[in-house]
C-alpha cells in the first residue's frame, strides 16, 4: 500500500496515509507480526505462542469464512500495531446475533499518539454490527465513548471466604475481614445450602470435557437470560477444552436427578498468597441458580480453597450470591458495547440489566503467559 504509490502517499493527508497502512492480517505477514509480538507482548506471552494464535484466530467456531480476525499496521516494512477480534454469537430474546469482542490491541511506543491505534480500531469497528469490549482501559474508554460506545459498567467481583483464618491473615487481620464481610455471611452457609440442594436431588460432578449434554442445557437455560454469549457444546468445547492451556480449568456439571441442569468452570488461583478458586463461568436454568452456586462453593471448600471469587455481570445473580454469604469485593473489569445505531436490538443491547457476562467472555481470563 505504500510501495509503488509512494509519491502519491506523500501528498495524501496524514490520516489517509495511516489508514492505508492498515490491512487484514495474512499468513505471509506472520514473520513481521511475530517480531512485533515478541518485542511488545514478550517472548513468553500467549500472543507469541503458535498454539494460542491458531486456537484464538483460526479455530474459533463462530468465525465466518473470509472475515478478517486480525489487522496490522505496516510502516516501512515493519508491523507497528495490531488489533484482533474475537467473534461471538449472542443469544438475544431468541435471536442469534453475530458480534465481536475487540482484543489484543497493541501499538509500537514510537507510533502511539500518531493515529495508528484509531486506524486499527476503525477496521475493527467496521467488522461487525455489534462491538463488545471487556476490560476496557481508562485510555481506551474515552476513545470508545467518543466513538459512540455505551459504558455498561464494571463487572462486580463477589468473594466468599471459606477459610476465615487464611483470609484474615491475607487481609492483615480479622478486623479488616470483619469490616468487609456483611452479617449475611454468618447466616448464609454454602454448606447448608448445598445440603438442601442435594436434598432436592442436586449434585455436582467433575467432568474431563464438555459433551453434547451441554446442548440440551443451553436450549433450556438460554431463554432465562435476555442477552448472553452462546454457550452450547461447540462454544464451550472451543473455549475450555480446546484452549492450549486447558489444564487451567476445572469443569463441572450440576445434575438434578441425573439430568444436567447447569455447568460451572473454575480455576485455581493465588490471592495474596492464598490458594483460592475463581468461578470463571457458569450457566443453569434460573430455578437452579441457588443450588449450583452452593454446590460450586462447596466444591471449592472441599478443595481447601481459602475463598471463592466470582466476577459476573447480570440478572438476579447478585441476590443469590449474597444469600450464600458472598460479599461485593470491588470491580475491575469494564464492559462496553456499541451496536450499530440502527440495530433492531440497540436498546436491549445498551441496557446493563440485559446482560449475562462472565469473566470468561472475551479474552479477560486468558493467561498472559504461554502455557508451558
Amino acid at each position: 500500500m505504500q510501495g509503488g504509490a509512494a509519491g502519491a502517499a506523500i501528498r495524501a493527508p496524514y490520516a489517509a496515509r495511516i489508514a492505508a497502512s492498515v490491512k487484514a492480517y495474512e499468513p505471509s505477514d506472520r514473520e513481521p507480526l511475530k517480531a512485533f509480538q515478541r518485542e511488545h507482548f514478550g517472548v513468553g506471552s500467549r500472543q507469541c505462542d503458535e498454539r494460542y494464535f491458531e486456537w484464538l484466530y483460526e479455530r474459533n467456531p463462530h468465525r465466518r469464512d473470509g472475515a478478517p480476525m486480525l489487522w496490522i499496521c505496516m510502516r516501512d516494512g515493519m508491523v507497528v500495531g495490531q488489533q484482533g477480534r474475537l467473534p461471538v454469537v449472542l443469544h438475544a430474546r431468541g435471536t442469534e446475533l453475530h458480534a465481536s469482542w475487540g482484543i489484543d490491541l497493541m501499538v509500537h511506543p514510537d507510533w502511539r499518539l500518531k493515529g495508528v491505534g484509531p486506524a486499527l480500531f476503525a477496521e475493527f469497528e467496521r467488522s461487525s454490527d455489534i462491538l463488545l469490549g471487556l476490560g476496557v482501559s481508562d485510555a481506551a474508554h474515552r476513545t470508545c465513548v467518543r466513538s459512540g460506545w455505551t459504558d455498561l459498567g464494571m463487572l462486580p467481583i463477589y468473594a466468599r471466604p471459606l477459610d476465615l483464618d487464611a483470609c484474615a491473615a491475607a487481609l492483615g487481620g480479622r478486623g479488616r475481614l470483619a469490616r468487609l464481610m456483611p452479617g449475611a455471611i454468618v447466616a448464609g452457609s454454602a454448606r447448608a445450602r448445598a445440603a438442601i440442594g442435594r436434598f432436592r436431588g442436586y449434585s455436582i460432578e467433575p467432568i474431563a470435557a464438555f459433551d453434547r449434554r451441554a446442548d440440551d442445557l443451553w436450549i433450556r437455560a438460554a431463554p432465562d437470560n435476555r442477552v448472553l454469549a452462546k454457550r452450547d457444546f461447540v462454544s464451550l468445547r472451543w473455549r475450555f477444552d480446546q484452549i492450549p492451556d486447558r489444564g487451567r480449568y476445572e469443569r463441572y456439571y450440576v445434575l438434578r436427578r441425573g439430568e444436567v441442569v447447569g455447568y460451572a468452570v473454575m480455576r485455581p488461583d493465588l490471592w495474596r498468597g492464598c490458594g483460592v478458586t475463581r468461578v470463571v463461568d457458569y450457566l443453569c436454568e434460573e430455578r437452579s441458580t441457588d443450588a449450583l452456586l452452593a454446590l460450586v462453593i462447596d466444591a471449592a471448600r472441599r478443595q481447601t480453597a481459602a475463598a471463592v471469587f466470582l466476577e459476573q455481570f447480570g440478572l438476579a445473580h447478585p441476590r443469590n450470591l449474597v444469600a450464600l454469604g458472598c460479599f461485593p469485593a470491588g470491580a475491575a473489569t469494564r464492559f462496553m458495547v456499541r451496536p450499530h445505531r440502527m440495530h433492531v436490538h440497540a436498546r436491549l443491547l445498551t441496557e446493563p440489566s440485559s446482560w449475562l457476562i462472565s469473566r470468561s467472555d472475551s479474552d479477560s481470563d486468558l493467561a498472559s503467559a504461554a502455557p508451558s
Binding site: I10, R11, A12, P13, Y14, A15, R17, I18, R75, R112, L113, K114, G115, V116, G117, P118, A119, A139, R142, T143, R146, S147
Partner: protein
C-alpha cells in the same frame, strides 16, 4: 500568528472536552490535560492540513509540534513559511 492561534484554540474548544475551569493558555499541554488522545491527534492533524493547506509528515507527528496552541501555531508558521 495570532490568527492561527485563535483558529487552533477555537477548533480545540469546539471539538474536544476542555474543562470549564481550564484557561487553555498558549502553552498548556493538550496531552497532559487529557484534552486530546490518539484519536484527537488524528482529528487535529486533519484539521490543520485542511485549514492551512499543509501536509504533515510522519516525522512531524511529535508533541513538540502538536502539544499546545503555541507549539501548533509555531509548527504551522514554519510549514507555511
Amino acid at each position: 500568528m495570532l490568527e492561527i492561534k485563535e483558529q487552533v484554540r477555537s477548533f480545540v474548544r469546539a471539538n474536544f472536552y476542555v474543562p470549564e475551569d481550564l484557561k487553555l493558555s498558549d502553552d498548556a499541554s493538550l496531552l497532559e490535560h487529557g484534552i486530546i488522545d490518539s484519536t484527537g491527534v488524528l482529528e487535529l492533524v486533519t484539521f490543520l492540513e485542511d485549514r492551512f493547506d499543509i501536509t504533515v509528515d510522519d516525522a512531524e507527528m511529535v508533541p513538540q509540534n502538536l502539544d499546545s496552541v503555541e507549539s501548533i501555531s509555531s509548527f504551522i508558521g514554519r510549514k507555511k513559511g
